[in-house]
């Protein structure tokens, strides 16, 4: 399947915004890490964020579920503005899935317990039902046979797929991925990307920080390029890769696309 045909199968985004960020700034102490961020993520939209290390990509997506606090501007997720209101934060977090570079599975729980934890305690789903859902999503990430193992017994690629399934069990409205494949050995990257592509095909709203340009080309509606805490450039993948506008984007692309 070529990139173009693959893309055609995948749905177009709705008009309605699920995440709306306006005039957002963030500082770490004196350090101005995010500057005037304006970003509207529509339902079913898939956005890839790239940029040099330290440019603020992780910080940006971590602000979207309040793992980091912003100091100026507004972030509205699914109609709820992120403020210090802890109840609102917990509500937003339940609707926003997050996949980390280092998986962050709970090592003391079995795979199926990892998946059922959120639904049981946050969504108050009965244990049995939660475990059935967990098994459903484990099938989906092709790892059901590992359900009773502990995370420490799985390979990196398997752990990352479990982490994706753990987020999916909460039936999130958006999924955030922070460099999901950059801690993996090369031969495991594909199995994780394949799972993400399947997700895309089903119309999941996704924000993915990644340098996997093949993935960006085949599933993203938009690519954002960040540098020094700003969104420097945003465009469709075709335009972004074939016809970058900014000098910094060109430099960055020349460095990663050898």
């Amino acid at each position: 399947m070529t990139e173009q045909t693959e893309k055609n199968i995948i749905s177009a985004p709705d008009d309605e915004a699920i995440i709306d960020i306006t005039g957002m700034h963030k500082w770490y102490g004196e350090f101005h890490v995010l500057r005037d961020i304006n970003l509207k993520v529509r339902k079913k939209e898939r956005i890839v964020i790239c940029g040099p290390s330290g440019s603020g990509k992780s910080t940006l997506i971590r602000c979207m579920n309040r793992l980091e606090e912003h100091q100026r501007g507004q972030i509205v997720v699914d109609g709820i503005e992120l403020t210090n209101n802890i109840k609102n934060i917990e509500r937003v977090r339940a609707e926003v899935g997050m996949v980390f570079q280092h998986f962050n599975l709970f090592p003391h729980l079995t795979i199926v317990e990892n998946l059922a934890l959120g639904p049981i305690w946050v969504r108050k789903v009965p244990k049995k039902e939660a475990e059935e859902t967990a098994m459903y999503y484990l099938e989906k990430v092709h790892i059901a046979e590992q359900a009773q193992k502990y995370p420490g017994q799985l390979s990196g690629g398997q752990q990352q797929r479990v982490a994706i399934a753990r987020s999916l069990c909460m039936a999130p409205k958006v999924m955030l991925f922070d460099e999901p494949t950059s801690a993996l050995d090369p031969e495991m990257i594909k199995e994780v990307l394949d799972v993400m592509i399947e997700l895309a095909r089903e119309g999941m709203t996704m924000l993915v920080v990644t340098h996997e340009m093949g993935f960006a080309k085949s599933v993203a509606h938009r690519v954002l390029f960040m540098d020094f805490g700003q969104i420097v450039e945003e465009n469709t993948p075709e335009e972004f890769f074939n016809n970058p506008q900014h000098e910094r984007t060109k430099l960055f692309l020349s460095q990663i696309l050898f």
């Binding site: 802890i86 339940a94 926003v96």
Partner: protein, 366 residues
Amino acid sequence: MVENTTHSEPSGDDIRPPKASIGVIGWLRANLFDGWLNSVLTLVTLFVLWKTIPPFFRWAFVDSLWFTDGAVCRDAPGACWSAVTTNLRFIIFGFFPYELQWRPLLAMLILFFLLFYSRDRTHWNKYLAYGWVIGLFLMGLFMKGGLFGLTPVDSTQWGGLPLTLLLSVFGLTAAYPLGVILALGRQSSMPAVKYLCIIYIELIRGVPLISLLFMGSIIFPLFLPEGITINSILRAQVAIILFTAAYIAEVVRGGLQGMSQGQYEAADSLGLNYVLTMRLVILPQALKIVIPPTVSILISAFKDTSLVVIIALFDLLKTSQTVLSNPEWMGFSREVYLFVAILYFLGCFSMSNYSRRLERELDRGY
């Protein structure tokens, strides 16, 4: 398989290890006589054992007397276990009325049974919790009496092993959760909570248990209104709990610091609140990491309950000393203290044994 001749299987003979590396001789050579330093240490150890074990064995078992009176013992070359056997009931039960001593015995048996049954984590369910509630009620009833026609026994008459067990089992089970809460409080983002916990922990750790016991028994009652007294066992119990909790808190804090930020973030991003994050994700891991140091603290707290002698409680150690102050048994301290040491050892050993078992059971390979 025919063309596979270049990689011929090794024949059976040449894959056998050399004779000297297997069997008893191989084991001895590999473990006890591996190099000259190891060999010298082995020989020295053997010599020391040969010089100490047989004489001890002779003293304790061959030449020993078991059921005589004190006068006969004095001329015997071996151990006088009569000092223990004759006074066993006093050492164990202290001044508890002699004809009622079946009651603390029964209370202890209930306790041992519950502890033993609770060892297995698969038994941890709500029926076990009911079992403990009923067990505690029965233990209290047997010790105190006053209900169902049981003669009341004042707590000033409690002593010996039941008192030691009471102070340590309740002391430790109450100190542990309190310590965990203090450790969490110390990490709190609310300054008032945080500094209260720090002050508490540092103050308690800055004074010896003895001084806490003294304060509890002598200074604290001065502040109470006229006519109100608080049972001295309870005061000692509270002092032990407060003291042990501060140490547990510091150990647990170490475990919490060992947790990676990623675990908090993963729990947060699922929408778990603080209490659930701690209870389901952080504490199970952090407490597991610190099982060994926690058990060290619990073991020393168990032994430290013997300090209550200074506020005139008759725990196991004090009842033994009392026996030794009786002219008939004066001078048999080796035997009596050895007996008490064995009892303490059994308690400590079961704790550390159980902790190793827990660690093994909870091992998830991370």
